[in-house]
Each structure stands twice: as C-alpha cells, then as structure tokens.
C-alpha cells in the first residue's frame, strides 16, 4: 500500500481513516458495482412485466395473423373445437363486462359507505374491530369464494331464487325508501305556510310512504314469481365478485377520505353543516379522485378474477337476452382461458392455443391501462392537493 499522505499533517489517529488512492478507486468501483447489482435486482418487477408482455404478445400474434381481428372482436360464434373452428369472442367479452358491472354495483356503494363509516363515523375502538373483518374478506382465497358460490349459493338460488331476490330487494330498498319519503315530504312542504307545514308533512309522508310501499310490494311479488333455471349465473357471480372486490374498494377509498384534511371538515362544521352533509358535500367531492381510483382497482379485481367466474358463472358463451338479464349463465375471458387451456395444451401452436393468449393479451392490456389511469388520477390529485 502506497502512503502519500504525510503523517505529520494529519496526526497518527486520523491517518488510518484516510485511504490510499488505489483503495479509494477500489472502493468506488465496489460501490458502483454494488449499486448496479442492487439496481438490477430492484428492477426485477420491471423485467418481469416486460417479459410477461413479451411472452403473451409473442403467443397472441399468431392468432391474429391467422384469424384476423374482425371475427374475434365482433362475432359471437365461439366454436373453437369444431372442424371449421370459429373464434368469435364478443359474447365472452360481454360476459366479462356484465359480471364486472354487477360486481361494481354491489361493491362501490357498499364499499364507499363502509369507508365513510370507517374514516368518520365509527369511534376508534370499533374501527379496530371492523378492520380485521375487511382484512379477512381480502385474505380468503378466491377458490373458497368460488366453492361457496357453487356449492352453497347456487343451489340456494336455484331452489328459492325468488324469495332470495325479494329479501335482497327489501334489504337494500327499504332503508333508502324511508329516507326518500322523509326528504320528499320535507322538500314539498317548504312552500306551505307555517301552520300547514306539520300536518302537510305527515299527510304527504303517509302518501309517499304508501306509494313506495306499494311499489316495493309489487316488486317483491314480481321477484318472488321468478324461477331461476340455473343457480350458476351472472347474478351469483356478480354478488360474490362484488364481495371480493369490497376490501379493495374500502381500503383505497378510506385512504382517499383520510387524505382529505381536517381543515375542510372543520370548515364545513363551522358553517353549521351536519356530519352527513359535510361528508357528502365536502369530503366525498374532495376525495373523488381517490374514490375513482378505488373503483378502477375494484374493476381490475373483478375482471381478473378467475376461480369464482369459472365455478359460478355457468360458462355459457352467449350474450343474455335482454343483455341485462343477470339470471342467465355467461362466460368470461378468465374462465375461458382457464377452462380451454386443458384441451388446447397438447395442441400447442394451433389457433385454439393462441386464441387464449389473445384473450390474455386483452386482459393484460386492460389491467395495464386501468392501472396507469388510476395512478395518473391519484398523482394528479396529490399535485392539486399540494
């Protein structure tokens, strides 16, 4: 080791702390090497994502080259195993869309309400109880949800579908109806004179209440008359998928609601708004981008889910008629990939095999774009929020 620092200048002790030029270069190289190795390992997820895209696209291209785009996206004729194979996946796309829509209808109102409740309404101790419930819902494997949907929920639906539907309708609509009656009777009596107001409100309340109750009874009557041919249908899948997407929606929108500062809430309270008014008119609008991101993540969860839809959707590749008939079986992209690969596996190289990669590519592209959009929304919201 070459010693080019005079000991007299630095003193005996600090001498050891300084390194020779060679050692310094050595260390710098070492640091550089270490850093680049670290960077490479840290980019493993980037590399993985690139590889996933590359390999899915590589196996999807042959399909589009042989069959073209038009049939795949516009035809509903899905007969992959025929002699004259047809690969019209429109009904499968529609199926995926339908269950996702259904799942969102279940998950978003419930999830956002639960998030509001967790962030603003419940006291701290109860929040600590509610959180594990959500975490457990998120932790339960999807195949367990699928098993429940197939073995418990589907037979129940098939045997007493009408009754189940009416109970569900009452559970959801009755509380809403009560609130609607109160608001309606209140709003309509604002123009009444002071003296007529109270009796007017009671009278109108009874009238509206009667009307809505009549409507509900009619609806229940209609619903309980329905007979459900197969318990494995789009409704079953949507409900279960919605419950599965709930934890995502709740936790992401709760984060968004918590990110809205105390100042906004306090300002609103100071103006005399009640808690519900503060939440609905101030906090939710302020957190809307975060809530939107939560919805997008929920959609991604529902679209990408495999086991539940494979077990509980009925796997019939046709568009329900009319399209909103959720009591018919449908088929989704993920279930098609999972179900058909077993048969297409040993014919690697055929259109039958590559069409599944084309579907996977559509899923992948959708998930990737949704993710980018949600990140963009969150990032922009953060910028606006300061």
């Amino acid at each position: 080791m070459q010693d080019n620092v005079k000991p007299s200048t630095y003193g005996g002790l600090s001498k050891q702390l300084l390194m020779s030029r060679g050692a310094q270069r050595y260390q710098r190289l070492g640091t550089l090497a270490g850093r680049s190795i670290l960077t490479i390992i840290a980019s493993s997820s980037l590399i993985a994502l690139l590889f996933i895209f590359y390999f899915i696209i590589r196996d999807a291209i042959p399909f589009f080259r042989i069959e073209g785009f038009k049939e795949f996206f516009t035809s509903t004729r899905w007969y992959p195993s025929r002699e004259e194979a047809e690969f019209g996946a429109l009904s499968i796309f529609v199926g995926s869309g339908l269950v996702t829509l259904g799942a969102i209808v279940v998950a978003v109102p419930l999830g956002v309400l639960a998030a509001l409740c967790l962030s603003d309404i419940l006291p701290f101790s109860l929040r600590q109880v509610a959180k594990p419930v959500i975490e457990m819902l998120a932790a339960i494997p999807s195949v367990v949800y699928g098993f429940f949907a197939l073995v418990v929920f589907a037979p129940l639906m098939q045997e007493r579908g009408g009754g189940l539907l009416s109970v569900g309708a009452w559970l959801i609509l009755a509380p809403l109806a009560v609130i609607a009656v109160v608001v309606l009777s209140d709003v309509t009596t604002t123009r009444f004179s002071q003296r007529a107001r109270v009796p007017g409100r009671i009278g109108l309340g009874i009238t509206f209440g009667g009307l809505i109750a009549f409507g509900l009874v009619q609806l229940t009557h209609f619903l309980s008359g329905l007979s459900i041919i197969s318990g494995t249908n789009a409704l079953n899948t949507s409900v279960i998928l919605g419950i599965m997407a709930l934890p995502t929606v709740v936790s992401v929108s709760e984060d968004a609601l918590n990110a809205v500062g105390r100042e906004l809430r306090e300002g609103s309270y100071a103006l005399g708004a009640t808690r519900a008014e503060t939440l609905l008119r101030v906090v939710v609008p302020a957190a809307r981008s975060g809530i939107l991101a939560a919805v997008i993540l929920g959609v991604m969860r529902a679209v990408g889910e495999t086991m539940v839809v494979w077990m509980a959707s009925g796997n019939a590749s046709k568009i329900p008629s009319p399209w909103f008939n959720y009591l018919e079986p449908i088929r989704t992209l993920t279930a098609t990939i999972a179900g058909d690969m077993g048969e297409a596996d040993h014919v690697t190289g055929s259109a039958r095999y590559h069409v599944l990669f084309a579907m996977a590519l559509s899923l992948l592209a959708f998930a990737f774009i949704s993710n980018l959009v949600s990140e963009l929304i969150v990032r922009r919201a953060r910028k606006v929020g300061g």
Partner: protein, 448 residues
C-alpha cells in the same frame, strides 16, 4: 330543509354507513359459517364399522381383535339381508321368465344400493376398485343410502304445465308379495347394528394419503403440495423483494427511472392471476424448460412473480417506518450506508417485513389460477423434496376446484371438499391473524 329533518337525515346516514359495515361482517359470517360447520364434518363424524375396517386394512390402525369381533357382530346383523336376497334369487329362477322379467330391473337396482351401503356381498369376488371394497364409511352418507334403499324418488309429470314434482315412493311397494318384502323392515330396524356408527375424531385427515380419488383417506398430498408451492414462492420472492425494497427506500431517490419502476410494480400487482399462469406456461415451461412439464418449481416461480409486488411494497413501508434517528445514529458512528442498512435498519424493520412475508405466504397458498398450467395435478402421491424440481403436485386450491366440479361423484365426497376448504381457510386466516398480531405489537412499540 328543517333542522329536525337534517338531523334525522344525518342520523340515518350514519345508520346506513353502519349497516354497510355490518353487511360486510354478515357476508363474512355467511361465507365462513357453512365452511366451518361442514368442514368440521371431515374431522369429526360418526364412522361406521366399514371406516374402522378400512383404517385397519390400509393404515394398520386400531385394535385388530376388537375390530374383528365388531365385524363379526355386524356380519351377524347383516346375515338376514343376504339370506333374503339369496332366497329371492332362488324364487326368481323358480317362478319362470315372466316373473323374472317383472322384477329383474328393480332387483338389480336394489342390489347395487345394498352393495353401496354394506360393501361387497359375502359370496362376491373382491372388487378391483377400493371404493367398491367397502360400504359406507360415514353414518351421514349411510343414512342417505339407506333412504334410497327404502324409497324411490320419482318425478310426477301429471300436470303438463309445470316441471316435474319430486315424489317419494316406498320401495317396498315394488316387491309387494314377494319373499323380498321383509328386507325393508329389517333395514329400517337393524341398520345401526349392521354398520355400528360411532363418533370418531379423524384428525389424521390432514396427514393421511387419499385412497381411490378421495373416496377414502385424507388430504396429505394436497397439503404438502401447498406448502411446497407457497414456501418455494417465498424462497424466490423474499430475497428479490427485500433487496428491491431496500433499493427503493434507501438508495433510489426521485428519478424518472424510479417512478417508472414504481409504476411497473403496481402494474405487476394488477396483472390478472390467470395471465401469470399463461406466462408461467409460456416462459418457465415452454421457453426456459425448467422442467419437462408442470412442476412445483415452475409453479413456485410463477407464484413468486405474483407476490413480488406485495412483498416489495410492504417491506418498503416497513423500512420507511424505522425512525430516522436510528439511521442518523449509525451514520454518525461512521458506519457506511450499506452497513447501516444491514445492521441497523433491516433488524429494526424485520417485524414489518415479516408481516409482509406472512401475508404473501397466505396469498401464495391460496392462489389457484397461476398453478393450473404450471404445477397442479388432480391426483397424485405426496412428493419428496428433491422431486419438486421436476414433478407436479396436487395442491389444496386446485383440488378444491377439481373435486367440486370434475370429480365423478361430486356429492359423495362433499365432506372431503369441505374439509379441504376448511383447511385452506384456517391456514390462510391463521397466517393473517399472525400478521395482524405482529403488526399490532410493532405499532405499540413504535408508539412507545
């Protein structure tokens, strides 16, 4: 609006919010209730003498002398049944072809049912399939079979405007006036003596191999396969994930590259699990040839990619949660950055990282879609550790799907399906519970 109304609306809004939370709790209960109740049926049930005989034959369990004594008592109770059947067979040959034609179909059906309930006839050759060598091993299944013996289910189509209505007819009506008639009364009276049900705790359900495609035995191959797959996934994901987290938390800063990297991590987390499965098939098996076909190794690698984002994110969070004073203290003592990370920050962040590992372990254990094409088979023996690099394995999530949809006798092995589901759920929830407890400890410690 009036103040009163506004107050009421406020309150009802709170109530609706709480209803939303309660609905979530209820749906969790509705989901877990049947799974727990029926899942326990795989472990605790009333076993028949057939079960004890099977245990003795296949696993060498139980007291041979005692079981044989019990079996001879059961044989005694069954003797009248076989005697009557034999007599009826004689009657059929005696009374000519018209008589035979009249009863042949019904009699054949009855004999199949009796064999399913009590096992092969005494004079019969030992059947090939194990499921035919024994009668009903569970009393709950036996009562179902008994019900089928005593009653015929028919559909009444007399009203053409409606679907067929199920009606039960006593089977004895079909054999009125023949020598077979007393058989049904005997069955009704002596079924318990023939099968001798007794409450059994079958905890070895977890550690027994399955016999004859899950008709008998336990779920050890599936459980073991799940352990291999989940631990294997962690083996790859944890080192990668922790190093990536260290890089992101301590070295990365705020460059463009890092922001792209973060986007990639969240995109990877959003990739549908079935796409991971296809990728695993196309890359690890068809391109890299890590194994000739499906294997635990390929499945673990695929699962590792799936849980990687979770590990990275949670570990990064844990590293960020370490108070900056720790780092400053170490740096001021002259430790290099890397040394600070390894000896000070990582140990302090370890419980948090552990939490992320535990949660990812649960996730990897429960994922089905990625292992369908890369690792899972429906039937198989438990494999040894060194076979994991080349052999596929049964695994709990895949076999739950498989037994619930593709098994030849889905209804007869419900208890096995529920037992598997319960095992998987308990496994995953225990892991999550541990994670929650660890996290609560950390937050208490950080709060002081």
């Amino acid at each position: 609006m009036e103040l009163q109304t506004r107050k009421m609306l406020d309150r009802s809004f709170s109530v609706i919010g709480i209803i939303a939370i309660v609905l979530m709790a209820i749906s969790l209960l509705i989901l877990l209730g049947p799974i727990f109740v029926k899942g326990m049926g795989a472990f605790v049930f009333r076993s028949t003498i057939e079960h004890r005989e099977l245990m003795l034959d296949k696993f060498g369990r139980g007291d041979r002398a005692e079981i044989e004594a019990e079996m001879s008592a059961a044989t005694q109770a069954r003797k009248p049944v076989y005697d009557i059947i034999e007599e009826f067979e004689r009657e059929l040959t005696e009374k000519g072809s018209g008589y035979r034609r009249q009863y042949r179909q019904d009699f054949k059906e009855l004999k199949v049912l009796v064999r399913e309930l009590l096992g092969p006839f005494p004079n019969q050759r030992q059947p090939v399939l194990i499921r035919d060598q024994y009668g009903q091993t569970r009393w709950d299944r036996a009562t179902v079979k008994l019900h089928h013996i005593l009653n015929v289910e028919e559909y009444d189509y007399s009203d053409p405007s409606q679907m067929g209505v199920k009606v039960l007819l006593p089977r004895v009506e079909r054999f009125r006036g023949t020598s077979l008639e007393p058989l049904f009364a005997i069955f009704e009276r002596d079924a318990k003596e023939m099968l001798r049900p007794r409450l059994t705790f079958y905890m070895r359900f977890l550690s027994d191999e399955s016999y004859d495609a899950h008709f008998f035995g336990g779920i050890w191959p599936e459980l073991l396969g799940t352990f291999y797959l989940a631990l294997g996934a962690m083996l790859f994901a944890v080192p990668l994930g922790i190093i990536a987290a260290i890089y992101l938390a301590e070295y990365a800063g705020e460059s463009r590259f890092v922001s792209i990297l973060r986007t990639c991590i969240s995109s990877l987390a959003g990739v549908p699990s079935i796409v991971f499965g296809l990728f695993g098939l196309a890359f690890f098996i068809n391109t890299m040839h890590v194994s000739p076909s499906k294997s635990v190794l390929a499945g673990s690698l695929t699962l590792a990619l799936l849980v990687l984002p979770t590990v990275i994110r949670a570990s990064e969070e844990a590293i960020h949660a370490v108070p900056i004073t720790y780092k400053e203290g170490s740096m001021s003592l002259g430790a290099s950055k890397w040394r600070t990370v390894v000896t000070v920050i990582l140990p302090a962040a370890l419980p948090g990282i552990l939490t992320s590992i535990i949660i990812s372990l649960g996730r990897a254990a429960g994922e089905t879609a990625p292992i369908i094409f890369t690792a899972a088979v429906s039937v198989g023996k438990p494999i040894a550790l060194w076979q994991t690099i080349s052999q596929p394995t049964p695994a709990l999530p895949w076999n739950i799907y498989n037994l619930a949809t593709e098994h030849e006798a889905v209804d007869e092995i419900r208890h096995v399906q529920y037992g598997m589901v319960l095992t998987l759920v308990v496994l995953v929830l225990l892991l999550n519970m541990t994670a929650i407890i660890v996290r609560a400890r950390i937050s208490k410690k950080l709060r002081g």
